[in-house]
Structures are given as C-alpha cells and as structure tokens.
Symmetry: C2
Amino acid sequence: MNEKCHIYRALNFVGKRWTLLILLELYKGNSKWKRYSELKNTLLDITPKILSSRLNELREEGLIEKRVDSDKMPISSNYSLTKKGLDFVLVIKEIKKWSLKWDTIQDCKSDDCKTCLL
Amino acid sequence: MNEKCHIYRALNFVGKRWTLLILLELYKGNSKWKRYSELKNTLLDITPKILSSRLNELREEGLIEKRVDSDKMPISSNYSLTKKGLDFVLVIKEIKKWSLKWDTIQDCKSDDCKTCLL
DNA sequence: CAGGATCCAAAAGGATACTG
DNA sequence: CAGTATCCTTTTGGATCCTG
C-alpha cells in the first residue's frame, strides 16, 4: 500500500494484463526494436488503447524505451527492452522456476512454455 | 492469458491487493500460527471479506495452511505459511533486489522496508 | 501508422450488517 | 470469533471512432 514500497511498485505494473506478453515479445526480439504495429499484430486481441497504456507504463518504469522515426512517412514508433527491463526478465524466470518446482502441472502444454521465458 | 501459464498463475494471486502484506505478516511470525483476528488487527484497514478472500486464494494455491481449534470457545482459525509459501518469499526478495538495484529511490523510508522481506 | 477520446462492461475492492 | 451476504464505489479493460 506504500507508494514507495519497491515490491508493490514492481507488482503494480507487472501484475497487469498484457504487460508480461509485451515484455515477452520484446524479449523474443532479442533486443531489437519492434514497432507498435508489429506488437499489435502479434498480440492478437489487444486494443490500441491498452497497448499504448501498457507501453507508457513500462516506459515510465524504465523497462522499455521508445524511438520514433519521423523521417519517412508513415511515422513508425519503435520499442525495445532496456537493460533494466532485460534484468527484470530474470525475475520473471525466478517466478517460473518457483512455479515449476511446486506445481503439479509441469508444463502449460503450449509451445510458448518452453520457448517462453525459461 | 493462458490458464496454465505458471507465471500468470503466480501473478494472478500475488498481484492482488493485501496478498503480500498477508504473506509478510505470516512470514514475520516465523512459521508460527496466526489467528484470523490477529491478522485483521495488524492489517488495519482490511475488511473481513477481503481478508477471507485472500486467505482462501492463498490456501487454494498452497502457500498457506489453515488450522481450526474448535475445542474451546470461541473458535479460533489459524494460518501459517507452508513450505511452498516460504519458498515464494524468496521470489519476492528477488523482486525487491531488482527494484533496489534499479530504482533511484533507495529506501521506502518505512520501518517495514528494512525489516520487511530482505 | 500510432495513438488519443469517448463511452460502456466487467471486475475488484470496500462498508456495513448479520449469523453459527 | 470467524467469517458470509448484500449492496455500493472504484478501477480496469475493452469496443469503437477519430485524427495528425
């Protein structure tokens, strides 16, 4: 409840819907820049409002950075994980390790589970 | 979004309000049993509905266990961290480490921050 | 193309009263 | 004491349309 509690601040953005999927998409890209429309097409059911909300939140927290190419039209906005964001992926992996250690379900049976974040 | 995704399952309960504070209270207790009323008194503004919801969620996920003493009246319900729950505290510590590593705010200035979970 | 604005639906949280 | 039931408020997510 404390605004300055580090744990709560972290959970405040990471606990939200779509956030991890966005981080994952950027992580898969291997530190490459991905444009807004790429993310939108990959995350099939996300609406533009939610996507930009999440991107802004992650940017405010310093996990991703944004680069705009306005030279050529149409404009393209690109996003990429920062070092802080990349480091956070390790935390997510810890969560997954914990879960795999204690869950009876050993695999989510999705291709993503293996290639996902572990 | 996948029901079986370990990461999402974990975030689904841990991301909720009060959950970490409850885990913290039980963790402070050093594996001792704490009663419902103790938790309610310590977590000042929590309402009975939320407290019992969170306790049930945590119990379903196997992070805490419940013991009821119905011998003597009035009945007392007691809660304690399981090994799985205790192990999860380590994950929370990882989140805190990450946050302390990257945040400019170095301390939440609350007594809790030091005694908290690190 | 990249989003902002608006409006609506759903979910979560919370206050209060009540019961075995 | 340890909750449950009910009702209400707030927050979040989502669908759709619009614009530089």
